[in-house]
Amino acid sequence: MSEVIDVRGVTRRFGSVSALDDVSFEVEENTICGLLGRNGAGKTTVMQLLTAQDFVTTGSISVFGENPVENPRVLDRVCFIKESQRYPDDFTARHVFRSAPWFFRGWDAAFAESLIADFRLPVDRRIKKLSRGQLSAVGVIVGLASRAPLTFFDEPYLGLDAVARHLFYDRLLEDYAEHPRTVVLSTHLIDEVSNLLEHVLVLDEGRLVMDLPAEEARASATTVTGAATAVEQFVAGMPVMHRDSLGGLLSVVVGPLNSESRDAARAQGLEISPVSLQQLVIRTTDAPAREFEASA
């Protein structure tokens, strides 16, 4: 196993607020890793710390085996495209694509050109005059064409419409397959990217609440639906994560079910459906809020 990112006990405080609280994880080389969680969970903070744009309060970070802070050897191989990236006044997209190769040695100009055409980006218009979607496209194109061995995407596609987003996912997958690199992707549009991810990290209020291979995360919960009595009978003894009922119909979320159990359930007329990654993350990160509601 070769990890490209190693985070140990990292806390980032702003005054009395902990943006990150004792977070530890590793990211393996040449995998696509999803950094998921609600707004304000700390996803951007993690990325800023990993790219040395921000500094830890406590804990240690190692990227490519070294501390990334003020470390050109590491930062040369990193590209971080923020959702809210600021560009110098009067810059056009053309300026961005012309200067990018000076900083990213793997820059593929032909790839950039084809992406510009794909996203229909007006490269000679001032960045200030670009629409939200076009602005996001600039960031996406830099991230993709940089071929940086470690590329971060911090919700850079928020301004993109569904077509453009899927274009991004397609191009990312294609390029990743041909030129493997480590990609860390943060988003709250989880279901859209769920199948792209190999590993899943979920943050909630600054804490790491899930750190699993995507396959395991996807398999970690199942929904059983059917007549209330039949369902209760079937799930008796299993830890239940969630219950939804409508009249005589009951829908219950339990842990992983192997194929025998699934077949047995179907034989009893019960419906087995997957729990999407998005639903899983929502449930995992919803708990504190519901606890608060319950106690109020």
Binding site: D6, E26, D54, F64, E70, P72, D76, F104, A148
Partner: protein, 258 residues
């Protein structure tokens, strides 16, 4: 469990020079605000001055009075504007390019060094231009009107290298003060900038107070008259370098929070 972390092969590492050069190019890639705007402003100021001279010398016709006016013109403040504007140029360059450079994975050290090189280069280019224009001004007898913009009393009227040095020192002084101010802004936002200026003001007022209380103004005046302009230019390099160093120290812990 032994995990072998991934490390960086020697062959693909870039050199410090490459990186600094990349930052320099980044500052110059969009010359509009960096080069053309200052020059355009200067050209405009010059034009306005020229018209004023035309008007003055059309109405003031007696030679004695004209000589008087020419004396006065030597103290015109218009020629100083561009230097103060260089502060604005530096502030914009740092403030806008820093977050962008951070996104490109540039270290703060490389950014500071690269920006410093860019500023020195820009100042040198402008100084060359100004020196040429000042020589031209002399040669044309003040643009045919006895006007004085590039050879105002503030600057040197000696040989070209002296003029060049004075201009360069002046440009560098304002540029690096601007850079330090911008660093304060980037690190601590508006509050930081106000505090920075306040501190600067206090320092200047304090210096003035000390000089007044020790009755040293005459001595200061003499020293200024004697060392102007080259001596002063040399001395100005001290605060210039101090600003540059201060700016870097401030920038070292700055984050590009938008």
């Amino acid at each position: 469990m032994t995990t072998i972390g991934v490390t960086i092969p020697r062959a693909t590492r870039s050199s410090t020079l490459d990186r600094i050069l990349a930052v320099v190019r980044l500052h110059f890639i969009n010359p509009k605000g960096f080069i053309w705007l200052p020059l355009a402003i200067m050209a405009f100021i010059f034009l306005v001055n020229y018209l004023v001279w035309l008007i003055i010398f059309a109405t003031v016709t007696a030679p004695a009075e004209q000589a008087d006016v020419r004396q006065g013109l030597q103290y015109s403040g218009a020629s100083l504007f561009i230097f103060v504007y260089m502060m604005v140029v530096a502030v914009q360059a740092i403030n806008l390019t820093f977050p962008f450079a951070q996104g490109y994975g540039v270290t703060r050290r490389d950014f500071a060094l690269g920006s410093a090189v860019a500023f020195v280069t820009l100042s040198a280019l402008f100084s060359i231009l100004w020196t040429a224009l000042s020589l031209l001004e002399d040669a044309t007898g003040g643009w045919g009107l006895g006007g004085s913009m590039f050879t105002a009393a503030y600057f040197s009227d000696g040989p070209w290298f002296e003029r060049f040095f004075v201009y360069l020192a002046a440009f560098l002084f304002f540029v690096f003060i601007g850079a330090a101010t911008a660093a304060a802004y980037v690190r601590w936002k508006a509050m930081g900038m106000y505090v920075f200026f306040a501190a600067l003001t206090v320092a200047i007022v304090a210096a003035g107070a000390i000089i007044t209380l020790t009755g040293s103004w005459p001595a200061v005046g003499e020293w200024l008259a004697a060392s102007w302009p080259v001596g002063i230019a040399l001395w100005s390099l001290v605060p210039t370098l101090a600003s540059a160093a201060l700016g870097y120290l401030i920038l070292r812990r700055a984050t590009p929070r938008s």
